[in-house]
């Protein structure tokens, strides 16, 4: 089937979201692992940042892949959300969810919040415009100075709560969309998604909290 027709169907778009979701989950796993280097020491994380620059092809390859993934993920989500809204032009006067988790019901606005956060995060730690004391390729300095400001750390903590919710439903939903379903693996799908949704955001927030508590300075 040509991609145009595939993309034209709602399931096709969902598959695109699932596949780009895998890319993004894979990336944040790498990202959180790298972040934890900060606890090893300034040289570990700064050295890691410098080493990335020695592989420009890989770096830009990953960046392009991520950009494409985010764009596809967001475009598909937006189109599907528009469709879904059109599918129920009159709202119920009373609607009481019976089964869905709050995570699953906040995917759209949570996704928008995460997108805004992503822009801020890039301006903050990659390009530096949103950082008052930014030094290129000095992540240890950039991170510790930023998170000493309580509300900056707060933005990150709130964003990670949103990420946790997005991952909790998104990771599980990915299996469902790709049709990875079997009575033997169904329970494992839920466990896997829960682990990702808890471990990744915890890893991320450990840094601003450590800074706030003075464990990193």
């Amino acid at each position: 089937m040509p991609f145009g027709r595939f993309w034209g169907s709602t399931i096709g778009k969902k598959v695109v979201m699932a596949v780009t979701g895998i890319v993004l989950v894979g990336y944040i796993l790498a990202h959180v692992t790298a972040n934890l280097l900060i606890f090893v020491g300034p040289s570990a994380i700064d050295g890691y940042a410098a080493s990335l620059r020695t592989l420009p092809v890989l770096l830009w390859g990953v960046r392009v892949l991520l950009l494409v993934s985010v764009v596809l993920h967001v475009v598909a989500a937006t189109q599907l959300a528009v469709l879904a809204r059109a599918a129920r032009p009159t709202a119920y006067q009373r609607f009481v969810p019976q089964a869905s988790s709050s995570a699953s019901r906040t995917m759209r606005w949570g996704g928008v919040a995460l997108l805004l956060f992503l822009v801020y995060h890039i301006l903050h730690f990659t390009t530096g415009q949103a950082h008052s004391d930014f030094i290129h390729l000095a992540p240890y300095h950039n991170i510790t100075t930023a998170f000493r400001v309580w509300w900056v750390a707060g933005i990150y903590v709130v964003a990670m709560v949103a990420l946790a919710m997005h991952l909790y439903h998104g990771t599980w939903s990915m299996f469902q969309t790709l049709g990875i379903e079997h009575e033997r693996v169904n329970a494992a799908r839920r466990r896997f998604a829960t682990i990702i949704a808890v471990a990744v955001p915890l890893g991320f927030v450990s840094v601003p909290i450590a800074v706030l508590l003075g464990a990193l300075r």
Binding site: K13, S104, G179
Partner: protein, 260 residues
């Protein structure tokens, strides 16, 4: 013991007319009444007063024809799990309770009158491919093709769908995925359903999209609302079939399908 309910019912005289909620007092009910029998009683009183009765779809009143379906206090088919509106009894409500009754709401289910909606979109999804093309006559002996009991049982689980549309009604996206997927799973689990499996899923999904149903976001409201408790596992199966048919299937040759 008699019961008393305070109803707020969606009244809409016709497809293009404006609708509104109307309050009705429903005294002297019995807890052993079914929900629809309660509406019968209310309607009898309305007719005696010369007013138009509340229109609602119903037929078998034993939970199998799929005609009935009301949004009751924000829950499709009301508070009892795995139960169609016709088999819901007033013992599931408190004396004096307010009960809001709305029609299924979806663009694909336009209101015909009051609580009656047009669900013909579901029929068109089946017509797009929800069948096995077995012409009458000329088929092999029933025991010529064996079906493992587990497969037959799983097919039956999916085939239990009564086509009431509660899945669409309960889905925040008004998606018909559970409905379409149940039929795709029923036929796809059986050996007889294999030859048309790829074509079936592609056509049914395409029809579902054309009918202006929303997409599935895997949130599971549908399986909770389903009077037959059909699992959203069938939706994963439909997605898998769709993916396989899209990636590996051959393009349908024009005029080769034979069955239009």
């Amino acid at each position: 013991m008699t019961m008393h309910l305070k109803l707020r019912v969606w009244r809409q005289p016709g497809p293009t007319a404006a609708g509104r909620f109307v309050a009705y007092d429903a005294p002297d009910l019995s807890a052993d009444m079914s929900f629809l029998e309660m509406l019968d009683v209310v309607n009898e009183r309305l007719i005696e007063q010369g007013e138009a009765p509340i229109a609602f779809d119903h037929d078998c009143r034993e939970g199998i024809c799929g005609s009935c379906g009301l949004m009751i206090n924000g829950v499709a088919h009301g508070p009892m799990r795995g139960t169609a509106t016709c088999q819901l009894h007033l013992r599931s409500f408190r004396d004096g309770q307010e009960v809001v009754i709305e029609p299924w709401r979806a663009k694909a289910f336009p209101v015909v009158r009051d609580l009656v909606v047009d669900r013909s979109g579901l029929d068109r999804i089946i017509a797009a491919g929800g069948y096995i093309s077995a012409r009458t006559g000329g088929v092999p002996d029933a025991n010529a093709v064996l079906v493992a009991k587990d497969d037959a049982d799983s097919a039956m689980d999916a085939a239990a769908c009564i086509g009431c549309g509660a899945c669409v009604a309960a889905c925040p996206n008004a998606s018909a995925s559970l409905f379409a997927a149940a039929k795709i799973a029923h036929l796809g689990l059986l050996p007889q359903g294999q030859p048309e499996r790829a074509k079936r899923v592609l056509r049914m999904v395409s029809q579902m999209d054309m009918e202006a149903f929303g997409n599935c976001t895997n949130i599971g409201e549908c399986q909770e609302a389903c009077p037959k408790l059909i699992s959203i596992d069938v939706i994963a199966r439909m997605n898998r079939d769709f993916l396989r048919a899209s990636l590996l299937g051959r393009e349908e040759r024009v005029g080769s399908s034979g069955e239009g």
